[in-house]
Amino acid sequence: MKTLLWAERMKLRRSKIIWIALFSAVMVSVIVYMQGQFLFQGHRYVDEAGWFMTAAQSLGSIYVLPAIIALMGSYMICREEQDDTMKSLRLIPVKPSSLVGAKLVLAAFMSVLLYAFLFIITFSTEVVLHFSLLKAATILNFLKIYLLQGICLFLAMSPIIAIVAVLKKGYWIALIFAEVYSFAGLFVGMQNTARFIYPVTAAFCVSGYYESTLPQLLTSILSLFICVCLSLLILDRLNKKYNS
């Protein structure tokens, strides 16, 4: 597994996807900052300390970043088929489930990295805008929310990434599905009970964006756990397919 992770990391170095994902995070920040210029009751949104960090995390997690995470995961999996390197990997031999597992671990790391990068941008902007109003506890809480959101959102998207590994050329439909799946979270988030069950909004609950009681938190963790189990089941099917 260690070797596979190393190999995947080396492959990513040659790819532009990391830079493109980071560029998306920068653009999310810029766009949300633009929204912050909107006047509400005589004040700009962005004038309120902490608004920018909250808005960038929530808006980005609904509209842009889930699809980017699904894109990163599906790209890493599909490129072996596209570049016709799967045959060579099978000759080594490499177990397909281990290979996809290594790709998923790296995609999870990338997801956290993406959120950490977004945090750095939003935190730097907040420091410039409202340095005197920021408290260490608030910043640490935001850092926790961002990092947990990164990992939880990846877990919520993991079944889609795993499906891509099974479907040939399925990344197009996976992308649409990822966008619709995350976008539906906007409406599910309005329902008090469903928001703790639906995986995308459950990620918000586990990260601490939504206030929740212990049973609600456990429901959200269970929902994400089901997503992980579903992904493992799909990957198991992939393994059987290759073995047969």
Partner: protein
């Protein structure tokens, strides 16, 4: 040009995913059923229902994302299968090649919005949430046709990016960011981004929509036009360079 369009249609027959992508047009009508069903309001007007199911998030988010992915798919698959070289050997004009792809995106967009209109009508009328009135239904279809016809022009910059790239990662990311930007700019300035301008045109005469300032149709069309022409020129230049 007609031959190219006919060829594009023949290629579509092999792409089943394109038709599966149409399913996303059902999302907002379905959500509207649940939303208005839970609200249990007795006085829901057809306009209120259709605003939710067809005039809001579908043209703001869902349709642009679907069109961006479709455009990328149409251009990327030809690169991936190494067919582009053969097309240049024939030879075909770069501009006509790009416009034939745009034509497919245009037809797909109109069809997508027509399906949204039919589903919205059925989702509202069949459960008895709203009454069937000829005025509201004809307005729904006309508005959806308008959105379906304008959206591909607003998505021309993404199609140009897809034409300039060999891969699909950048055009997809650009689609997501471009759509998000258009959605956010609706509240800031409607005449900078083509998608925001498209929304300005479509909501201009919509009953019940209150705007801070009157919509300036000239500026909105100008914005879409400038971005569209610039995109076509950029696509033509980059395709010629790549040859």
């Amino acid at each position: 040009m007609l031959n190219l369009i006919q060829t594009e249609f023949m290629k579509l027959r092999r792409k089943n995913f394109i038709f599966l992508m149409m399913l996303s047009s059902l999302l907002m009508p379905l959500l509207a059923v649940f939303y208005f069903g839970a609200a249990k309001k007795a006085d829901i007007t057809p306009m209120q229902f259709y605003k939710w199911s067809a005039y809001s998030y579908t043209p703001w988010i869902i349709l642009p994302v679907v069109l961006g992915i479709l455009g990328t798919m149409l251009l990327y698959d030809e690169n991936q299968n190494d067919m582009l070289k053969q097309l240049w050997i024939i030879p075909i004009s770069k501009l006509e090649y790009f416009l034939s792809k745009f034509f497919i995106v245009f037809l797909y967009s109109v069809l997508f919005m027509m399906i949204t209109a039919v589903c919205s009508m059925l989702a509202g009328i069949l459960p008895g949430t709203i009454p069937f009135t000829a005025d509201s239904v004809s307005y729904l279809f006309l508005k959806c046709l308008e959105i379906g016809a304008l959206a591909p022009f607003a998505m021309l910059p993404v199609l140009a990016v897809a034409a300039s790239q060999k891969g699909y990662i950048l055009p997809i990311c650009v689609t997501l960011v471009y759509t998000f930007l258009g959605f956010i700019l609706l509240m800031v300035n409607m005449y900078v981004h083509p998608l925001s301008s498209m929304t300005a045109i479509t909501i201009k005469d919509m009953p019940g929509v209150v705007m801070k300032q009157p919509v300036d149709l000239k500026s909105a069309f100008l914005c879409i036009g400038i971005w569209g022409v610039a995109s076509i020129i950029c696509a033509d230049v980059t395709l010629k360079k790549r040859q």
